[in-house]
Amino acid sequence: VKTVESVLVLAVVAKLVDQAFGLLPRLSALLIRSCACLLPPQQQERWLPEWLAELEAHPGPEILTFFWAFGVSIGAVRIGCRARAASVLARRRRLRKALTPDSKDIFMLGFIFLLFALYLVYRDRMRKDNDGQPFLGDLARATASPAEGAAVLSKSNIWTARHEDGWANRRDGDARPAQIFKTKREALDAGRDIARRDHVEHVIQNRDGKIAERNLYGI
């Protein structure tokens, strides 16, 4: 009974193998066709008819032909990869060409840098010029905190008047003079500077005590 069974199994296996081998040529063609699909159309047109013709002409037994077809499909993948790599390289080359700056771009870039440098120089000069002078930014800063603002506003006027040692500058309400000078001219100049700095009124008296001038250095 065992012998009969094994013979039957062998027969079934043989039949299956035979069927499988009968399928091999079609499988080979399918393999080549499907791998050729990976190629760009132009390459596909070039190679597929040749491979199918050679598949038909292949002399060996079916199993060897199948191995040959398997090799061809690997070759198809390699050709496809090479074509794709070439197109990627070409695109990269095009991109690099497009990104290379020409003379016009460099000129524009230089112009922008020049404008920026000019702006920096101008800004520095403005800062230097405005040192000690009233201007919007400084005022905003001065009045930013209430205490500071009050200090600025509470400064009293400057009086330039005759003094026993010459001419003096005195704050309104102070008993003692802040500065004493030999000449009226010196006292006047210094007083004007203080008044300007503090944005207050500069009052100038004559030798006899009469007010000669009032100058308001307001905001």
Binding site: E50, E54, H58, P59, V72, G75
Partner: protein, 104 residues
């Protein structure tokens, strides 16, 4: 871009150079150059792109001949020069082995 001349390239070039003056098709070349199909066809594609090899379809009546037309290959003028140069170089490089291997 010029293809690099690898050992496989040399094998194909040698097979084509040996058959100079006649056409060869893929299966023949594979046998003569001792290359598998996965190597041979990409190689032929590269050589053809470089202009070292040219190919064309066999002009036969398929039904009369009872088989499909073949795609035939041969070396171009430039390809022949390249092949000669490469193979001479290889020959010279290997000639130092003559005392070891003998004349055979």
């Amino acid at each position: 871009m010029q293809p690099r001349i690898t050992r496989e390239t040399e094998q194909v070039l040698a097979a084509l150079l040996a058959a100079i003056g006649s056409w060869r098709y893929g299966l023949e070349l594979g046998k003569e150059a001792d290359l598998r199909s996965g190597t041979l066809y990409p190689l032929l594609a590269r050589l053809e792109q470089a202009g070292w090899v040219e190919s064309e379809w066999e002009k036969i009546d398929e039904s009369a001949a009872g088989r499909r037309a073949r795609r035939y290959y041969r070396l171009t003028g430039e390809g022949e020069l390249v092949a000669r140069e490469a193979l001479v170089k290889t020959q010279q490089r290997l000639s130092v082995l003559r005392p070891v291997l003998g004349d055979a």
